[in-house]
């Protein structure tokens, strides 16, 4: 709702390139041009790309293993041999930070994918079928919105052991609601369009109409909202890890490192500062990129 008001320039009036009118510009290309003008979004994208690459390849180049302890070198401050210092077991913090980044980013991606799948299918069915089905399905979403979901995730994690797979599913199962609402709204708005009528009159089945003809046309809002879901998911993972319910030691994730750091920040502040900064920076970048994409693709309703 605030999208149109906060975008610095009205997108429709914005960037017809002043090239000769014969060269057609696809909507995606157009959006790409708009995105590239948004410095904050470009900054966010660059940071994310850099961090991901570092997290994926970094640990291979590190002389230390992420669980390799060195009891003569515990709590050593940042130095030449340990760029970000070491922790209570003498493990190299930089290696653990990069390795933990793999886990955190993976949780962010996979859990979002779970949420995306549930949300899109649910929302598309609700919006396309309409009528009574739609009312019932959306009422369920309304009711689920009001539930203390975090509490259930905590219970799940405590009770059924803390494995990564469960973490993905539990987080994904919580975060699909808004996606379902957005997809439903979008589907309803294009349902009566001629090309959909045409597809129906050709005798195509409902799944084919939804997934071949409708979803590709509402990809914009889906992409935007996906980008905005990832930070929420990563936050939930870190929240669980902080309570001791997420990723288990000696594995590392940003949440685990922040928890370790918070416990010892008085004497060894670097243990909190580095993971805290990297994590916040990632959330920052994702939010900027999401906002930028929303303006670039001119998606209005994606944030409510």
């Amino acid at each position: 709702m605030s999208a149109s008001a906060t975008s610095p320039i009205h997108p429709a009036a914005a960037t017809r390139p002043s090239a000769p009118p014969e060269t057609g510009v696809s909507p995606w290309r157009d959006a790409w041009h708009r995105l590239r003008r948004n410095h904050l979004a470009v900054f966010g994208g660059t940071v994310l790309l850099t961090l991901s690459v570092l997290c994926v390849i970094g640990p291979w180049f590190s002389p230390y293993g992420y669980e390799q302890t060195d009891l003569y070198n515990t709590f050593s401050p940042p130095s030449f041999s340990h760029w970000l210092g070491t922790d209570q077991l003498g493990r190299d913090l930089l290696t653990r930070l990069l390795f933990g980044g793999r886990i955190s980013l993976m949780v962010g991606l996979v859990a979002t994918l779970v949420a995306l799948t549930i949300g899109v299918v649910y929302g598309a069915i609700s919006g396309y079928v309409g009528g009574k089905t739609d009312r019932v399905l959306m009422r369920i979403v309304d009711i689920l919105y009001a539930l203390p979901f975090t509490i259930f995730v905590i219970l799940l994690m405590v009770f059924f052991g803390r494995n990564l797979l469960l973490l993905f599913v539990a987080i994904g199962a919580v975060e699909w609601l808004t996606m379902a609402r957005i997809v439903r709204g979008q589907i309803m708005s294009i349902k009566r369009m001629d090309y959909i009528e045409a597809a129906r009159s050709l005798g195509l089945g409902t799944p084919r109409i939804i997934f071949r003809h409708m979803i590709p046309n509402i990809l914009g809002p889906i992409i935007v909202y996906t980008t905005l879901t990832i930070p929420g998911v990563m936050l939930l993972e870190a929240f669980l890890s902080f309570l001791g319910l997420g990723v288990q030691p000696p594995m590392s994730s940003w949440g685990v490192l922040i928890k370790d750091g918070a416990e010892r920040m008085e004497e060894y502040p670097w243990m909190l500062i580095f993971p805290g900064t990297i994590f916040s920076l990632t959330l920052f970048s994702l939010n900027f990129l999401g906002d930028g994409l929303r303006d670039a693709l001119d998606v209005r309703a994606a944030k409510d």
Binding site: M1, S2, A3, S4, A5, T6, I143, Y145, A146, L147, P148, T150, I151, I154, L155, V158, F159, F160, P231, L235, A238, F239, F242, L243, I258, K259, G261, A262, M265, E266, P269, L272, G276, F279, S280, L281, L283, F284, N287, F288, D304
Partner: protein
């Protein structure tokens, strides 16, 4: 309006019923029981304990007994961890701290967020606006469990202004409420700014201006009412977030609240305490959501109570 509230209240009943049932059976089908950690329990003691808590009855019987006690007497049973205490007592003991923390945090979030949002919107595209908006973005992206320890490091350890943990004096309450409040203040600021901007160039504001109303009157009397709408609809999720967010805050600042008790009770397999807390949180969140919905319709004449 009364019909709207009555219908929503009626809808709450099946929802709560589902929550209670789901939690009850989830807790029971989980590996491990409340008396596992007890050192060297003989089978006899164990049998006695189970008889005391009614855990020897068939599961459906236990379930019916539990429902009956909760619905008829509001009795949430005895804690399986603290044998001498009932769940009602524990909740009565721990809830006040959590509620205090939550309401202080909400107050901070509203005061800070609304002020920042209105200031930013009124001074749109000035330095003040950019400064506030950037600050809000930082507030959204720095999670409570990073912000909390950093604030402690700064204000408790280095400056010594407030205390780092505990829950006795007023100094103990500042940092936890601030930590929890800032995150939501940031979101509220963004929403207020957006909402105000949308409203500020509508016709009725121009009319008010043409009639010579003062700028302050226009902002607070005319614009704020419409500009607040997105904030109000955010309050539902915000309240739920603040309630559960206090789990982390209570852990960081060692506050004897219900959130910490809940996480511990899950670890201890304290069936009755887990169930009791879940029910309480569900009731709290659902009723606060209802209040939010009513306020929303009251603020926005376009919506009708249906």
């Amino acid at each position: 309006m009364f019909r709207f509230i009555a219908r929503r209240l009626l809808e709450t009943i099946p929802v709560l019923f589902i929550i209670v049932t789901a939690t009850f059976f989830m807790v029971r089908f989980v590996p491990g029981g409340p008396f596992d950690s007890e050192k060297a329990t003989t089978p006899e003691i164990r049998a006695n304990l189970e008889a005391y808590y009614g855990l020897n009855l068939p599961l459906h019987q236990q379930y019916l007994n539990y429902l009956k006690a909760v619905v008829l007497h509001g009795d949430l049973g005895r804690s399986t961890k603290y044998a001498s205490r009932t769940v009602n007592e524990i909740i009565a003991d721990k809830l006040p701290a959590s509620l205090q923390l939550g309401s202080l945090a909400l107050l901070i979030a509203l005061v800070l967020g609304l002020t920042a949002g209105v200031v930013a919107a009124v001074n749109r595209n000035t330095k003040l606006d950019y400064f506030t908006s950037t600050f809000a973005m930082v507030g959204i992206c720095v999670p409570t469990f990073v912000l909390g320890p950093v604030l402690v490091l700064l204000f408790a350890i280095h400056l010594g202004w407030f205390s780092a943990s505990g829950w006795y004096e007023w100094q103990d309450r500042i940092l936890p409420s601030l930590t929890l409040g800032i995150v939501y203040a940031a979101s509220i600021a963004r929403l207020t700014r957006g909402g105000m901007l949308e409203v500020l160039h509508q016709d009725y504001i121009r009319t008010a201006r043409a009639k010579g109303a003062s700028e302050a009157r226009i902002i607070f009397r005319h614009a704020l009412r419409g500009g607040l709408l997105p904030v109000v609809s955010f309050l539902g999720p915000a309240i739920a977030g603040i309630l559960t967010g206090s789990f982390v805050i209570e852990t960081i600042f060692q506050i004897p609240g219900l959130g910490r008790e809940f996480v511990n009770s899950a670890f201890n397999r304290d069936y009755t305490l887990v169930l009791g807390t879940v029910i309480l949180y569900a009731v709290l969140i659902i009723s606060l959501n209802l209040v939010v919905d009513v306020v929303q319709v009251w603020l926005n004449p376009k919506l009708k109570f249906e």
